[in-house]
């Protein structure tokens, strides 16, 4: 999990407030025109300030933002394959449109990933679900997420045991044509998960399940919302200014 123990002001904010702020910040960043380079500089400073407040070390963030790599590769490719006017730089013919496009993708993607990582580092997965629940996210979705959280380990444990049992009987799936055992294993795992689902449901009914998993707890107060709104408001202000200026 991405969560880092801590007691910083960001850790202490209620989860729903943090989720709303993350979404707002990301939307504002994405809405900023790509030509407003200065705006992205300010955003980067904001992200650094947030990370510092949450006491997240830089290397930790950089390592985890590697999930973005496929998009980075795409962004780097764009100046070469882009159409339209071209400029020459160090002997390379680069498309101006492609350069803008690549920059746009790279900078917005990176900032978005970093903001999400800050949320994940300061909020437990459990709290994120509680937050979504309080934000009136449909119960079905939060319930599915809760079950996933609980049963992911159980299912991976089952899959591992089945894998070991196959190996113990001489299966050695190193080549593509040996995946048959794996494929049937996936089917068996699905059936087991399905049967477990039935049993869990019976156990839930036996304890009086009526459609909600946990009682609604009181959410964040006005003060928390106001605190958390500062960064999204700054971001939005920059985005608006950038739109007007360019």
């Amino acid at each position: 999990m991405l969560y880092r123990e801590g007691a910083t002001p960001i850790h202490r904010l209620a989860p729903e407030v943090k989720i709303a702020a993350t979404v707002a910040i990301t939307v504002a960043m994405v809405a900023t025109p790509r030509e407003a380079f200065w705006a992205f500089g300010v955003y980067a400073l904001l992200v650094v300030a947030l990370a510092a407040t949450a006491r997240i070390p830089g290397p930790w963030l950089v390592k985890r933002s590697l999930v973005e790599t496929p998009f980075v590769l795409l962004a780097l490719l764009m100046p070469f394959v882009g159409a339209g006017e071209r400029i020459e730089w160090l002997g390379l013919h680069l498309s101006v449109e492609g350069l803008y496009g690549g920059f746009n993708l790279l900078v917005k993607g990176t900032l978005g990933v970093l903001v999400s990582l800050i949320l994940a580092a300061t909020t437990t997965t459990r709290d994120i679900i509680v937050g979504l629940d309080r934000l009136r996210c449909p119960h079905v979705l939060t319930q599915i997420a809760t079950f996933m959280l609980r049963y992911l380990d159980v299912l991976t444990g089952e899959a591992r045991r089945m894998h070991i049992a196959r190996l113990a009987r001489g299966d050695d799936p190193r080549f593509l044509w040996q995946v048959r055992g794996f494929a049937t294993g996936v089917g068996a795992l699905f059936l087991r998960a399905f049967e477990r689902g039935e049993r869990v449901y019976l156990a839930m009914l036996s304890r009086g399940y009526t459609g909600t998993l946990f009682p609604q707890s009181p959410g964040a107060g006005v003060a928390q919302w106001a605190t958390a709104a500062t960064v999204p408001l700054v971001t939005a202000a920059i985005a608006v200014t950038a739109t007007i200026v360019t």
Binding site: T146, Y151, R199, L202, L205, S206, Y209, F214, P215
Partner: protein, 249 residues
């Protein structure tokens, strides 16, 4: 039926949609505070009977009454029945489905409408009863199997049941966890119906035992008498483990 009985099952018959007759006229009365072992081979109908006790399975003939309240399909009645009958299922991973121990124990009482401090008290009380309070914030998958089974018992104790129904409580437990669970169960002030084919465990915990085979109760006697009757056990595919014997009284 007298006021003193926790559970009164009268002539319950049930057939699954495929025609298999799982219960063929089961009658059983369990007095308040009794600990009764329900023995029987695989496929005897034990689980089917258990699911009748709190109205998960209905539709057959006969009646089930829990401390004076008869199981019907009425929603309000069912809620109260499910509070009174606490079923602990065999696999704790089926029972514990929420991310933390405390939340899972709170699930039942919260469904009964408890909130806030009252709910908190219930949770702590139930976890204390099984000696798991210090683990309340832990994730179920990080607990040992024995600990998970104890938490599973706590999840139904939190509903303050009239009768605790345990499905194979000793399965997959190591000897120490098995003894710890026995100590806990012995100390609980509730009626217990224990479904098992672990005969020594039944003898250790229950004064009375009944044998369910082929959808019928075929024997009902003090556990010592019943388990000493080798022929009766053998007829119903029950056996004491190798090297064990219960001397006839």
């Amino acid at each position: 039926m007298t006021e003193a009985s926790s559970l009164d099952v009268r002539d319950v018959r049930f057939a699954y949609p495929d025609g298999h007759r799982a219960l063929d006229g089961v009658s059983l009365t369990v007095g308040r505070g009794e600990r009764v072992a329900l023995l029987g081979p695989n496929g005897a109908g034990k689980t089917t009977l258990v699911l009748h006790l709190n109205g998960i399975l209905t539709g057959g003939e006969g009646t089930v009454t829990v401390a004076g309240l008869t199981v019907t399909k009425d929603r309000g009645t069912l809620t109260e029945i499910r509070r009174r009958v606490g079923i602990v299922f065999q696999d704790p991973d089926d029972q514990l489905f929420l991310p933390t121990v405390a939340e899972d124990v709170a699930f039942g009482p919260a469904n009964l409408g408890l909130r806030g401090a009252e709910l908190e008290t219930r949770v702590n009380e139930a976890l204390d009863a099984v000696g798991m309070r210090e683990h309340r914030e832990r994730i179920p998958s990080h607990l040992s199997f024995g600990q998970r089974r104890r938490v599973a018992v706590a999840t139904v104790l939190a509903m303050r049941p009239e009768i605790l129904v345990l499905d194979e409580p000793s399965s997959n437990l190591d000897p120490a966890s098995r003894r710890e669970l026995a100590d806990i169960l012995r100390g609980l002030p509730v009626t217990v119906l224990m479904v098992t084919h672990d005969l020594p465990y039944a003898l250790e915990l229950c004064d009375r035992a009944v044998i369910l085979d082929d959808g019928r109760i075929v024997a009902d006697a003090p556990a010592r008498t019943l388990l000493a009757d080798q022929d009766l056990l053998a007829t119903h595919r029950l056996e004491l483990p190798y090297g064990f014997s219960v001397p006839a009284i």
